[in-house]
Amino acid sequence: MKPILVIAKRELGGYLTGPIGWICLVVFTLIAALFYNVVLVQIANQSMQLGMEEGLTEGVVQGFFGNLTVIGLLLIPAVTMGLIAQDRRERSIELLLTSPVSSLQITLGKYFGALAFVLVMISTTLYLPAMMYWMGEPDGGVMLASYGSFTLLMAVFVAIGLFASSVTDNQLVALAMSFSLSLTLWIIGWFGAALGESSLGTILGHISMLSHFDTMSGGVVHINDVVYFSSTILFFLFATTQRVEALRWR
C-alpha cells in the first residue's frame, strides 16, 4: 500500500509546483464562479416569473454542475496528459520501473495523485453551496448527490486520461486522445437515441455517461449508476496497468 501513497504524494506535489496544475486550478475556479452566478440569476428570474420556490436547489445545483462537466471534460485531459507520457519522454519512468514497485502500484499511485488534485479543484467550489446555506435553505440531499455524481464523473475522466497518457510519450497526443475518448463516452447516448428502440440504440444509451450522470445528479442515486461509473474507472485502471507492464518489454 505504501508505494501507492509515495507515488500519489509526488504527483500531487508535482501539480502544486508546476504551471499546468495552477493554470487548471485557476481556470476551473474562475469559470465555476462565473457559471454559478449565471445559473443563479437565470433560475431566480424564472422562479420569480413563475412564482414558485419549489425545486430551486435542484435547478441551481443541477444547472451549475451540468455546465461544469463541460469544463471538466476540457480540463481533466490537461491535468492527466503528463502522468505517464512525460515520465516516458523524460525517461524518469525508469526510476519507477527499476524500483521495487509493481505496475499496479504505479498505476494506482498516479491515479490517486491526479484524483487528489482534482478533488482540490472541486473543493474550490465549496464556498458556493455555503453561500446558498447562508442565503436560504437548500435541499441538502440534492446538493450531496450532485457533488457526489460530479466527483465520480471527474474520477472517470481522470481514469480515461491516465490511460491515454500511458499509450504515448507525447503529452499532446495524450491530451487529444483522452478528450476524444471522454467526449465520445459522454455523448454516445445521442447516437443511441437517434437509433431509437433498436438493441444497439439501447446499448449505446447504457454506455453513455450522460444518461447515468443525469439521473444521479438529479438526487436519485441508483446503484446501477454507481456501478456503471465504478466499473468504467476499474476498466481504464486495468488497461493502464497492462500498458505500464508492457513498458517493461520494450
Binding site: K2, P3, V6, I7, R10, G13, G14, T17, G18, E90, R91, S92, I93, E94, L95, L96, L97, T98, S99, P100, V101, S102, R248, W249, R250
Partner: protein
C-alpha cells in the same frame, strides 16, 4: 552474485542481445566494453528488471529477475545512461522520493548519506532543472545508491562529463566498490575500465566476444613499443626476431606486432641500438580494436 545465462532479447526481427552468459562474483567490479548498439544497455536493463528478456535468465544473489523482480530491485541500484530525473523537483526531494520508493527504513538519513556520498549536499535545495550535466549525472547515481544496494549497475556513469568530473565520478565508484559491493559498469573510455575494473567483458553485436581479468588481458603482450637512442638500422635486427609479425617506425619509436610474448628477445636485439624504453603491455584499446575488427570481418 550475478549470473546471466543464455540471455536473448529480440525486437521483431532484430536481436539486441544473443545468448549472453556471464558470471560476476561478489565484490567484483566488471566493465562492459563495446561499440554503441552492441547490447550493453539492453543487458543492464534486463539485470535491473526494467526490461524483460525473450529467453534466458538473469539472477542476482540467486533470485531470478523475471520471477521476483521486486526482491532483486530492492538490493540493486541502477543508473541508466540518461538519468531518470524529475526536473521540477529539488535534488533532496527527488533523492528522498527514490529512497521511499526503494523502501528505505530511514528516508531522511539515507537521503543525507547518498547526497554527501555523491557530493550534492551543497546543491540539495536546488531544482534539478537548474543543474549542469555533471550534477545531474550525480543525482542519477544518488538515486541508484540511496538504498545502499549490494549490487550497482551503472550505464555509462561518466558520459558527457568533462575530464575533472570524470575523475570525480571514477573516484566515487572506487569508494563504492570498497567493501564487497558488486558493480557492473559500461563505458566508452577504455582507460576508465583499466582504472576501476577487475574484469572486462567485451560485447559486440549482441554477443560476448571475450571476457577476462584486466591483468590477463594486459599481460598477453602482442604489441611491443620500443624507444631507441640510435634507431638507424634497427629495423632489420628487430624484424629478424622470431615471432615479430609486423613493424612500424615513427622517429625513434618502433611498434612491433608479435604472435607471442617475445619481449625478452626483442629487448636483447634492441640493446645495441641504445634501448631507452620498452612497453610490452597490450593496451586495452588494442585488444578492443582487435576484437571489434575480428567481429567486423566475421
Amino acid at each position: 552474485m550475478i549470473e546471466v545465462q543464455g540471455l536473448t532479447k529480440r525486437y521483431g526481427a532484430n536481436t539486441a542481445i544473443d545468448d549472453v552468459s556471464f558470471v560476476v562474483q561478489k565484490g567484483e567490479v566488471v566493465g562492459f566494453l563495446g561499440p554503441n548498439g552492441a547490447g550493453k544497455s539492453t543487458t543492464m536493463r534486463v539485470i535491473a528488471g526494467s526490461l524483460g528478456a525473450s529467453s534466458g535468465t538473469a539472477k542476482v544473489d540467486g533470485v531470478d529477475v523475471a520471477e521476483d523482480p521486486r526482491t532483486v530491485q530492492a538490493m540493486l541500484g541502477y543508473s541508466p545512461e540518461v538519468p531518470p530525473l524529475y526536473t521540477n523537483m529539488t535534488v533532496r526531494s527527488y533523492v528522498s522520493y527514490a529512497a521511499s520508493l526503494k523502501r528505505v527504513p530511514d528516508v531522511a538519513a539515507a537521503t543525507n548519506l547518498a547526497l554527501s556520498r555523491v557530493g550534492l549536499t551543497d546543491v540539495s535545495h536546488r531544482l534539478i532543472d537548474h543543474l549542469s550535466k555533471g550534477y545531474r549525472q550525480r543525482v542519477g547515481l544518488a538515486q541508484a545508491l540511496v538504498h545502499d544496494p549490494k549490487v550497482l549497475v551503472l550505464d555509462e556513469p561518466t558520459s558527457g562529463l568533462d575530464p575533472a568530473q570524470r575523475v570525480e565520478i571514477r573516484e566515487l565508484i572506487r569508494t563504492l566498490a570498497a567493501g564487497d559491493r558488486t558493480i557492473i559498469l559500461s563505458t566508452h573510455v577504455l582507460g576508465e575500465i583499466e582504472a576501476i575494473c577487475n574484469r572486462v567483458i567485451f560485447i559486440g553485436k549482441g554477443r560476448i566476444l571475450a571476457q577476462d581479468d584486466i591483468g590477463n588481458l594486459s599481460g598477453t603482450a602482442r604489441v611491443v613499443r620500443l624507444e631507441l637512442a640510435r634507431p638507424e638500422g634497427a629495423q632489420v635486427a628487430l624484424a629478424a626476431v622470431d615471432g615479430v609479425l609486423a613493424l612500424e617506425q615513427a622517429g625513434s619509436i618502433y611498434t612491433l606486432r608479435t604472435s607471442r610474448d617475445v619481449r625478452a628477445e626483442v629487448a636483447a636485439a634492441a640493446v645495441p641500438f641504445g634501448l631507452l624504453a620498452l612497453d610490452g603491455k597490450e593496451h586495452l584499446e588494442e585488444v578492443y580494436l582487435r576484437l571489434m575488427g575480428a567481429e567486423a570481418k566475421a
